[in-house]
């Protein structure tokens, strides 16, 4: 009975394998789409996407510069997916991350440009804004039994319109270009301190956001697996009623989970916009970052460290679209490939089932239990 499971039968390894299968299949389907669009240039197009910034291999400075840019843009994506997977572990599908991220943009840009605060205060403001948005969703869920997905969607739109009003004002937005002012020119104090910029070809957008993202992931990993709070969260996620029966405070846990999740989403916004790499323009729909975060969270196997790898991969592919020759293809093909990969993530359970096929009869009880634990995450969820 104590037999150790073989390497390929470990749940963790299988999750990784399943994600890799998704990625490879997605790229293959993407190639088929390129073939359908323009057969004679499909190979060239696929190479351009996959080779990405590596095409600057003559000059290591340029290469590192573009590598840096990919990293910087992956940061908010990774943090948003951390926010989502954290709530997901507690059985909450926080689709409101998109809105929490948006109000995070609002808070960080307003405090930095209009109020002239320094960077760490701006970060705190963004966290507070995201957390407040998460709190409202959580409050409606815990007290009034409003489905968190719907509350989240509502709060997304309220957040978007509020952000448009606040950031559209003359103090923050340059009315002639309809973009928010560049932080560098208005208030350089609000820019995040730079980090290893020299290594990355003097990329001025390389900031402490990168190491901080890794730290956040590690903290989440520890909180989820090594603390009582994390245990309660996961217990609530597995079986709400059982958790309540065991004396865990469900109301408090629901609200707290969404507050933390929202805080991380707000933090994600500040970690991106306070680098000054992008300016906010008035949007007619909620920024996709939060939704893409859902995708990354699942591709990363709902694991804080997996999310980092998945986020980097997705951002790499998305950026790859820009290296396509626009005479033959348009850059959105890369987005399409990403979407296909996410869609395939839904089949992870099926892939795992395939991997276990044939050996199922030989399963010992020990194995059956461990497998149960990993798959309940996906199964025992209600919205």
């Amino acid at each position: 009975m104590e037999k150790k499971p073989s390497f390929f039968r470990r749940p963790g390894v299988q999750t990784v394998l399943a994600s890799i299968i998704c990625a490879i299949l997605g790229i293959l389907v993407g190639f088929l789409i390129l073939l359908a669009m323009n057969p004679s240039h499909a190979v060239e197009g696929m190479t351009a996407i996959l080779r990405n910034f590596l095409k600057y291999d003559q000059s290591s400075t340029t290469l590192m510069y573009y590598f840096g840019s990919t990293l910087v843009k992956a940061v908010p994506l990774i943090l948003c997916s951390e926010a989502i997977l954290f709530a997901y572990k507690a059985g909450l599908f926080n689709i409101g991350v998109a809105g929490q991220y948006t109000v995070g943009i609002m808070a960080s840009l307003y405090t930095s440009i209009a109020l002239g605060w320094s960077w760490w205060l701006c970060i705190l403001a963004a966290i507070a804004a995201g957390a407040l948005w998460g709190f409202i969703s959580g409050f409606f869920k815990a007290v009034f039994n409003v489905n968190e997905v719907i509350a989240g969607i509502m709060m997304n739109w309220i957040g978007l319109y509020l952000t448009n009003i606040v950031l559209g004002s003359k103090k923050v937005m340059d009315q002639s270009t309809s973009k928010t002012y560049n932080i560098l020119s208005k208030n350089p104090d609000a820019l995040l301190p730079s980090f290893l910029a020299n290594v990355f070809g003097h990329n001025q957008y390389m900031t402490i956001a990168l190491p901080v993202t890794v730290i956040v992931a590690i903290i989440l990993l520890v909180v989820l697996n090594k603390t009582t709070f994390g245990y309660e969260l996961r217990a609530t996620g597995h079986n709400k009623e059982a958790a309540r029966y065991a004396g865990m405070n469900a109301t408090r846990n629901v609200i707290l989970t969404l507050v933390i999740s929202g805080g991380i989403a707000g933090f994600a916004a500040s970690m991106f916009y306070l680098t000054g790499i992008e300016q906010y323009t008035l949007a007619s729909s909620v920024p996709g970052m939060g939704f893409n975060g859902i995708a990354v969270a699942f591709l990363g196997g709902l694991h804080p460290i997996g999310a980092i790898v998945a986020g980097l991969f997705i951002e790499y592919l998305t950026m790859g679209g820009q290296y396509l020759d626009t005479n033959y293809f348009n850059p959105q093909v890369a987005d399409l490939m990403v979407a296909i990969i996410i869609y395939l993530c839904g089949f992870v359970l099926f892939f795992k089932h395939l991997m276990n096929k044939g050996k199922a009869k030989a399963l010992t009880n020990v194995n059956a239990e461990t497998e149960e634990n990993t798959t309940t995450d996906e199964k025992d969820k209600e919205v």
Binding site: I95, I342, G346
Partner: protein, 314 residues
């Protein structure tokens, strides 16, 4: 005032159709977060038909072909959800989100490729113009400009309500969303019923998509998708408690607030208040959150929604 009524009718028609689609899907036990994506596919197919039809085509041809194309595209795209969630027991929220991403990305790619090849490489935009098509749908009743779309939506609402309450088929479908094991034990094919639910949502969602882009506009930029209308419809559905008649009036309520944001300048009383238009945009969401808070204590979603049906499960 006339303008307000026009916009309200259009938004209400869209929301009713899409929310009814969501209702059928959820009643059969499948959460359909991909309504937004289904709408995009329906809208794209319908718009393509309007663009491609020769300008001398009769109004009836344009109307029928556009609607059919939108509905078929909606149903085909809903198969993405059906196959993954019913046969492969995939996570329904994830698949819905994926379909939304897939829809916007592929609509952009397809429309751009279409424009590029049509213009010999001078037009790279993701925009479609369908002025003739848009006009074909208009009919005038006095001062009021009504679109055929709205009549179609009204008819479908009546059909859906009768279907939902009066037919054996719908009763079986609803059973699959409440207790699939029990339904199976009396010989109902749960998988088939869930397929029916999802395909119905594709049908209605696709039609909702074409109405959304074509009833009030004659061009559309496909890189924006349908700007959250699918999610709004989901809210209408929950607000309407998964019941067709309640969905209808909650859709009208949402539509009134939504159109206020478009026309508030035209109404003297509201113009005098000097509230920026964006505030009105927030209204439907704020109101629905509050109403949901007051009604959700007793709200009950279909019991088995979101749980893949496994014949072997205890």
């Amino acid at each position: 005032m006339i303008l307000l009524i026009q916009y309200t009718l259009i938004f209400a028609a869209v929301l009713i159709l899409v929310a009814l689609g969501g209702m059928f899907s959820e009643r059969s036990g499948i959460i359909n977060l991909g309504l937004e994506g289904i709408m995009v596919f329906g809208a794209m197919a319908g718009a393509m038909v309007m663009v491609l039809l020769p300008s001398h085509a009769s109004k009836a041809t344009i109307i029928i072909l556009t609607l059919v194309a939108a509905a078929v595209a909606g149903m085909l795209s809903s198969l993405f959800i059906a196959v993954a969630c019913i046969n492969f027991k995939a996570d329904q929220t994830l698949i819905g989100t994926a379909l939304n991403m897939l829809a916007t990305a592929s609509a952009t790619v397809i429309v751009k490729a279409f424009n590029t090849s049509r213009s010999d490489g001078t037009d790279f935009s993701a925009k479609l113009d369908y002025v003739t098509g848009h006009k074909a749908f208009l009919i005038h009743i006095g001062e009021l400009e009504v679109s055929w779309f709205i009549i179609v939506a009204a008819l479908l609402l009546i059909c859906s309500t009768v279907f939902f309450y009066k037919t054996k088929f719908a009763l079986r479908l609803r059973a699959c969303g409440e207790h699939p094991q029990a339904a199976d034990s009396v010989g109902i094919n749960v998988y088939a019923m869930r397929y029916a639910g999802v395909l119905l949502s594709g049908f209605l969602g696709g039609l909702g998509g074409i109405i959304y882009i074509a009833a009030a506009n004659s061009t559309w930029h496909f890189d924006y998708g349908v700007a959250g209308a699918g999610f709004l419809a989901l809210a209408v559905m929950i607000f309407g408690q998964w019941k067709p008649e309640r969905i209808a009036w909650s859709a009208v309520l949402f539509a009134v607030f939504r159109s206020l944001s478009n026309v508030n300048g035209g109404i003297d009383f509201l113009a005098n208040l000097h509230i920026p238009g964006t505030i009105y945009n927030m209204f439907p969401y704020i109101v629905s959150l509050i109403v949901l808070a007051l009604t959700s204590k007793n709200s009950r979603a279909p019991k088995a929604e979101g749980i893949p049906y496994d014949k072997g499960a205890r």
